[in-house]
Structure formats: C-alpha cells, structure tokens
C-alpha cells in the first residue's frame, strides 16, 4: 500500500507564497504558441522539495499550461553540506570517508575516484591485487546503483513491482560489501594507496555465486519492462537529447551513451585495472528515456562480465602500496576522473604541500546532468518530467554535496 503512506508527505510548500514563486519563475520565458480563446491560465506548480518522485530534496518549479510544461527551474542545495569546505580542513585520508556521503548510492565509486586522485597526486600506484579488488567492488556498486535506479525509475512511471525485485537483488551486493568492509552503504572500502582489507574467505566464490544469481534476475526485470507496452509508450521519445546537446551541456554517463556517443572513461582513459578486461560500451541511438533504460540494462550485463573476468584472476601480492602515514603531496594540482554509475566523476585537488588539501573540487555527474532537465522536458507533459528526473539518475547528495 505504498501510495497510501505517501499521502502524509504532502507537497504544498507553505513557506513559499505564490507571489514569491512567480518572482522566481519570471525569467522562464513563455513559448509563443497559437493562443485560442479556450486557453487557460498558466499554472505554476512547486514540485518538491518533498515529493515522492524527486528522489530526495530536489525542488522543481514547473510552469504549466494545463499539463504541458512551459519551463522548469530546479532549486537545489537542500542537502548542501559543504563537502568541499570540509575537505580543506581534513587531512587527505581523513577526508576519504566524506566522499562516500556524496553519491551514497554508489559510495564505492566515489571512494575509488578520490583515492586514485590522491594517489596520482602522491605519484604512487596501487598494487595490482588492490586494483582488481577495486574493480570488482566498483562494478558491484555500479550494479547496485543501476538496480536502485531501475527500481525507483519504474516506481515513478507507476510500475511498483520492479522496485522490490531490484531491492531484493541489491541486497546481495550490499551483503558482499558488508562482509568485505563491515558497511553496506557508505562503505569507505578503499584507502589511499590500495585497500585496507584483504578479501575475506570465500570472497571469490561468493561473488561468483552472486553472478549466477543475478543474471537471471536482470532477465526478469527486462521481461517485466522491456517489451511492456505501457513502459515503452511512457519512455520512448520522452526526454530526447541529442549527442550534440549532451556534449554541449556536459552530460555524461549512460545519458550520453544513450544518445549514441560511444564514450566511457573506463575505455577512453582506463584507470584501476580496467585496461585488462574485455567489455563493450553499450550505446543507444535516439537518446530517449527508453534508450537510456536499455543502455543501463546492458551496462549491468557488462558489469557482470567485468566482474566475471576479474574474479577469476585476482593476482596475488600486497593490497596496499607504500604510502607515508602522514601524506604531504608536493605542491601542485591534479584532476582525475572516473566513470561513476552516473557519469564522469572528477576530483580536482590542489595541494599546497601540507597535510591537508588546499582545495578539493568534486565534479559531480548528477549536478551537471541535472542541468539538462529543463531542456529535456520543455513541451512535454508533467508525467514526462517524472520520467526524465528518473532517467537522469540523480542523487541529491551528489548534486548538493
């Protein structure tokens, strides 16, 4: 009875008067369309910050003509915690757990990006065994992230069942994380220079077992949705974005690939141990919500493929490189980015030679991708806004940092 419990989370934002809303949206210029005498007034709707479909505390101000969206404005920052400011007051290794709290759905990826960036700054390399473990955990995390996305996206479009299926299967990933490092969500799995924990007894066997378990499950999701008429109608042609627009707006990740750009940082600028594995970059053609869905489903299969290859040949050896206890990178700056489940996740770190970073800038994929929302939903219907927010796969923790 999920929809009944949601009722308590009523939307109306009582602190904002209509007047203030009109002021905020005054810049949303109206498209001139042929007016007839039946045209009604524009309606300004405040979607969020507490709304079941905005995935957290995103607030979207919609300017509507009936059900048609004339313009949107995102109001973000409700979850702003000043991660970048915190970084300047922590040592390099103390800041490591904080990055998990940005994209809390894909915490392992965040940690990987940060650790690799600092490693680059320190000019050390993680040992091969650590890199393999990193790849396995990161890909498992990508699976978990995509599963969560699929469940919530389907829920937004009205299919309530996939959510429970994906959560059931995501649970298995989280169990592996828990066994590996004791945490399920904000894992802090990696350390600068490698990994802190050796794989637990039977890690490889369990991961293999998970692979066997999850492959039919992904088929199951696809059975539920891929050819479902309503699903196809709701997603095909919705929120179209072309490759050119994607590039111009800096949109990355599955959204970019669904528009037909075969670009994945794991291939383009391989990091960790990705150069060793054989996998494909799934792409779409139309850049609509359906293609993004297909691309992510394919990506899940590719992740399985990578894990399958990695788990079979984890090299022996140390799991952490020799890094000083007190890290003092030389004065300089570095930008390192990885392919997070949502897109390009970059860290720009400036060192002043002390134990604390002088400046850490996170390039959040969700933040940049969310920018495309306005372009994607103009002229669409309210229901499409929900579908597009879902398909952008934003995590507000990362948007607001």
């Amino acid at each position: 009875m999920i929809d009944r419990t949601m009722i308590d989370r009523t939307v109306t934002d009582r602190t904002t008067t209509d007047q203030a809303m009109t002021d905020r949206t005054s810049h949303l210029e109206l498209e001139q369309h042929d007016k007839t005498f039946l045209d009604s007034n524009e309606l300004i709707i405040n979607m969020g910050p507490q709304h079941p479909a905005t995935h957290g505390v995103l607030r979207v101000i919609l300017k509507l003509d009936g059900e048609k969206v004339l313009g949107t404005e995102c109001v973000i920052g409700y979850l702003h915690r000043g991660v970048e400011k915190i970084a300047e007051h922590r040592t390099y290794s103390m800041f490591n757990p904080y990055v998990d709290r940005m994209d809390y759905v894909a915490a392992v990826s965040n940690g990987l990006g940060y650790c690799e960036a600092v490693e680059k700054l320190l000019n050390v390399e993680a040992p091969p065994r650590a890199r393999y473990i990193r790849v396995i955990l990161t890909e498992l995390n990508r699976l978990a992230s995509h599963m969560l996305w699929l469940g919530t996206h389907a829920l937004d479009i009205g299919a309530i069942t996939p959510l429970f299926y994906t959560f059931r299967d995501r649970e298995e990933v989280l169990k592996i994380f828990e066994k590996y490092c004791g945490a399920r969500l904000t894992t802090h799995a990696f350390r600068i220079g490698g990994c802190l924990y050796e794989t637990y007894e039977g890690f490889e066997r369990e991961v293999k077992k998970f692979l066997d378990f999850v492959t039919p499950k992904i088929n199951e999701y696809e059975e539920l949705l891929t050819t479902n008429r309503i699903w196809v109608e709701r997603t095909k042609g919705v929120g179209k974005i072309s490759a050119k627009e994607c590039v111009a707006l800096g949109v990355t990740g599955p959204v970019l690939r669904a528009s037909g750009v075969k670009w994945d940082l794991r291939k383009a600028q391989p990091y960790a141990a990705y150069a060793d594995f054989d996998f494909e970059i799934p792409t779409g053609q139309n850049g609509d919500t359906y293609d993004r869905y297909l691309v992510r489903m394919q990506e899940m299969r590719q992740s399985l493929r990578i894990i399958d290859q990695a788990v079979g040949k984890i090299p022996e050896g140390p799991i952490i490189a020799k890094v000083p206890k007190v890290m003092k990178p030389a004065v300089g700056e570095i930008y390192h980015s990885i392919e997070a489940p949502k897109g390009e996740l970059g860290y720009f770190i400036v060192s002043d030679g002390s134990t604390q970073p002088y400046r850490v800038r996170v390039r959040p994929p969700s933040f940049v991708n969310l920018q495309a929302l306005d372009m994607m939903v103009r002229g669409a219907l309210v229901a499409d806004v929900i579908a597009v927010i879902g398909t952008l796969d934003i995590v507000l923790g990362e948007v607001d940092r």
Partner: protein, 158 residues
Amino acid sequence: MVTRLKGHYGSGIEANSYLGQNFMAVDASLIPELLQVLRDQEQFDYLVDVTAVHYPQREKQFDLVWILYSFERNERIRVKTMIADGASAPSVVAIWPAANWLEREVYDMFGIQFDGHPDLKRILLPDGWKGHPLRKDYGIIQQDQEWVQINLGIESGQ
C-alpha cells in the same frame, strides 16, 4: 597546439604539465576568445568543469580553472587564469551551455562575477545568504546567523 596558440596570442599563454596533465595559465584578457578557439579549432567540445581556487595572500586572489576535454583527441586540458577579488570574469555559457550551473556555483562559493551569464544567482545556498563559503577567510563553522534566525526560526544552525 600550444605553439600554435602561442604564436597567435603571444606571451599571454604559458603552457605547463604536472604529473602528465597539461594545463595552460592564461592572461584573463584572453579568456573568452581563447576558449572559443579551443572549442572550435582544437575540438575541446566538452567543458568538464569550471571551478576556482582562492589564494588570499596573492594580489590577484582567485585562480579560475576550466577543465576541458576533447572527444576527438581523448585529451584533457586545464585552462587557468588569475583574477582579482571583485573583478569579474567573462562567462562561457555562450560557448558551452554546461557552464551555466557551474559558473553559478563558482559565484555562489567564491563570489566571482561572470559577465554575460544569463541568470547569475546563488545555486546551492539560499538566495539571501551572505558570504561565500569556499573563500579561505570564511570559517568552516561560520554561518549567516541572521538568515538562519529569520528563515529557519532557530537560534543557530549548529
């Protein structure tokens, strides 16, 4: 590429590399033009990030950084420039629409004005907030007490 650009723009450009990553320190006056050239002629069609670094000791307090990427060449480049506090930088929204929110965030966090930005206002912090938190002189637990008291109705956000 750098030599070509240098030949064109003279001494305003200083190319460098650190740990295998290329960056250019550029005079602020060259900025919109150079970035336009980088996009149009050198195929840096993807603006990865716009950010800034605050050096309060310096005369020109801010380093403004554009991180660019070229799909064609699979290559990254950072373009840096120094601007003084209170001075404004040219906006690159016309070149890359992606810069819209990124520049708003830089404005929000550092207070750097961008000329030609279509809608420069705070993005992460509330509209009426005073201060720019990523400046070095802004303390880590510092807050706009007045805003907190008026809008949240509590004594302190801590």
